[in-house]
């Protein structure tokens, strides 16, 4: 690896990291503001214009507050747990391509932390790591409510990870028909969603040529299952039994305060954004969109894909907030039934249907 290549790698990791931090700080503010609007309140309005600096102020406050350590905690795991929450959250977003590759001199810069051959598996691995933070925080706090929160988190994560993985399999199989063989690299999956569905059928060509070639259209069922699963994976309402205030105080982070609590809080919002980004990448075409190359100035065409990516991701993030404002929390048995009796069989059934259709289109009817 030569020096310019090395610096490009450093640059893109720092850029990805910076983008994630900025959008996360904005997300916290956006959620409070959007929820306030939906509930006919004003929401944060004092710090900065429209209260946009509220998150920074809260962050500063939490940073300077005392981190109380209760006497009955298991100290090692209690201190480790917040870090285990933040690290996987950051690593997941490193896989997401958030802009069109461009050239600096004769070196290509891809706007993505890293493009792994096993990118999608890496995301699954990291999202299954994230649950350890919750379990360990709950257990090490040496208190009953956090322990209940931790146990709930484990059961929930195991149940919904399966549905999430199965929905991903359906997309990957479909994506394999869109190019030369299957791939798990997110950059490649995004590339394959460029263009429109215009060449699908000559009769419908006038309409379909305006429909972008996103996976969400043929894989709508997988998209719905995936989205429900990621809401459950990030422990957000209506699946926030892990930290149900009315039943178990704060759940796994009841005994945390100060900067340690802030890290759990940060991890939750990073996870919302990066999971939405992954859904946008897999189903909504990632950074694809009309860039008007040659019509608009070059730098506008270079920035537009990133804007498309952020717009799609924020649409999904908005759905997260909307769900929280609208739906009441599920009961525990409803949560388990939805996971095991609806989502997993649904995802398996969709996988079979989608496989049959793909094979039929590729090899023709079996009786011919």
């Amino acid at each position: 690896m030569s020096w310019p290549e090395f610096w490009i790698v450093v640059l893109r990791v720092i850029l990805t990291f910076g983008l994630l931090l900025v959008v996360t700080i904005l997300n916290v503010w956006a959620e409070r503001k959007i929820l306030a609007k939906m509930q006919s309140r004003i929401g944060p309005s004092r710090a900065g214009p429209y209260g946009i600096l509220q998150t920074l102020a809260d962050g500063m406050k939490l940073f300077f507050k005392e981190s109380i350590t209760p006497r009955k905690v298991e100290l090692g795991m209690y201190v480790l747990a917040p870090f285990l929450a933040v690290i996987p959250a950051f690593l997941i977003f490193m896989m997401v391509p958030w802009g069109r590759p461009f050239m600096i001199g004769d070196h290509e810069v891809t706007l993505q932390g890293a493009d792994l051959n096993v990118g999608l598996l890496f995301i699954l691995a990291m999202s299954s790591m994230a649950v350890y933070a919750v379990i360990l925080a709950g257990w090490s706090s040496g208190s009953t409510y956090p322990l209940i929160g931790g146990v709930r988190a484990t059961a929930q994560a195991i149940s919904y990870e399966a549905a999430m993985g199965l929905a991903m399999v359906a997309v990957v199989m479909f994506s394999a028909t869109q190019g030369d063989g299957g791939t798990l690299s997110l950059a490649e999956i995004v590339e394959r969603q460029s263009g429109t569905w215009g060449d699908l059928s000559p009769a419908l060509q006038p309409v379909l040529q305006f429909v972008p070639r996103w996976n969400v259209f043929p894989q709508i069922v997988a998209f719905v299952i995936f989205f429900i699963a990621i809401v459950a994976e990030t422990n957000r309402a209506p699946f926030d039994l892990v930290e149900a205030e009315q039943e178990i105080v704060g759940g796994f982070h009841t005994e945390y305060s100060g900067i340690r609590f802030a890290m759990f809080f940060l991890a939750e919002y990073i996870n919302i954004f990066s999971m939405s980004a992954i859904a946008a990448t897999l189903f909504l075409g990632g950074w694809n969109g009309p860039t008007f190359d040659g019509v608009l100035p070059g730098f506008v065409s270079a920035v537009l894909p990133t804007i498309y990516f952020l717009a799609k991701t924020y649409f999904l993030v908005f759905l997260f907030f909307w769900l929280r404002a609208t739906l009441p929390r599920l009961r525990y048995d409803q949560l388990m039934q939805l996971g095991w009796k609806r989502l997993i069989p649904g995802a398996l059934g969709w996988l079979i249907v989608s496989t049959l259709v793909i094979s039929f289109r590729q090899f023709g009817p079996p009786w011919s």
Binding site: E74, G76, M77, L116, N117, V118, L121, F122, L124, A125, S128, M129, V131, Y132, I135, L136, G138, W139, L147, G150, V151, T154, A155, A157, I158, E161, G181, G182, T183, L184
Partner: protein
């Protein structure tokens, strides 16, 4: 060079994790030690360009199996006052002897320099062993498809068998 440093680091953490599993008084720390070992081994796989194996190791073992372990430990709430009797007579003595023999053997190999005992890595890595998904999938679904499908069937049968054993236990006799 980088590979060497990585190997030493990860070998140390893997061994430290393995020792924690045995030594820790609290079963949760044992589980975390095992997790550390699994993770270090996954990093070693990455250093060997086996990305797929590394990812699967983290998803299956670290992600699913260890989560279940922790779940069970936390649910049953293993107390430190648990039964610590050792039922195998002299087990520490024999394990000590076995471990001593293995360590002496390894030291002997290292000191005498007879490295035929530990076959070295191949000089040039053939393209096919670069562990991309495609490189693994192709032999799996062509040359070894029968073995692959048979394994899948075996796992399904064992899962169904486990459920059947748990489910119909009360009805027998």
């Amino acid at each position: 060079m980088v590979e060497g440093i990585l190997f030493v680091l990860m070998a140390v953490t893997a061994l430290a994790g393995a020792v924690t599993v045995v030594v820790a008084r609290n079963p949760v720390y044992s589980a975390m030690g095992l997790l550390g070992t699994l993770f270090s081994v996954a990093v070693l796989y990455v250093a060997q360009l086996a990305h797929f194996v590394a990812a699967v190791q983290v998803i299956v073992y670290a992600g699913a199996v260890m989560t279940l372990f922790l779940f069970v430990i936390m649910f049953i709430g293993v107390d430190t006052s648990d039964d610590r009797d050792e039922r195998l007579p002299m087990q520490r003595f024999w394990v000590g002897i076995l471990a001593g023999v293995i360590v002496l053997l390894a030291a002997g190999i290292t000191l005498s320099g007879n490295f035929d005992w530990v076959p070295a890595a191949v000089e040039t890595i053939p393209e096919a062993t670069n562990g991309t998904i495609q490189a693994i999938a192709e032999p799996l679904f062509t040359d070894w498809v029968l073995a692959f499908e048979a394994t899948a069937l075996l796992l399904t049968i064992s899962a169904a068998g486990a459920i059947a054993l748990a489910h119909f236990k009360g009805q027998r006799t």
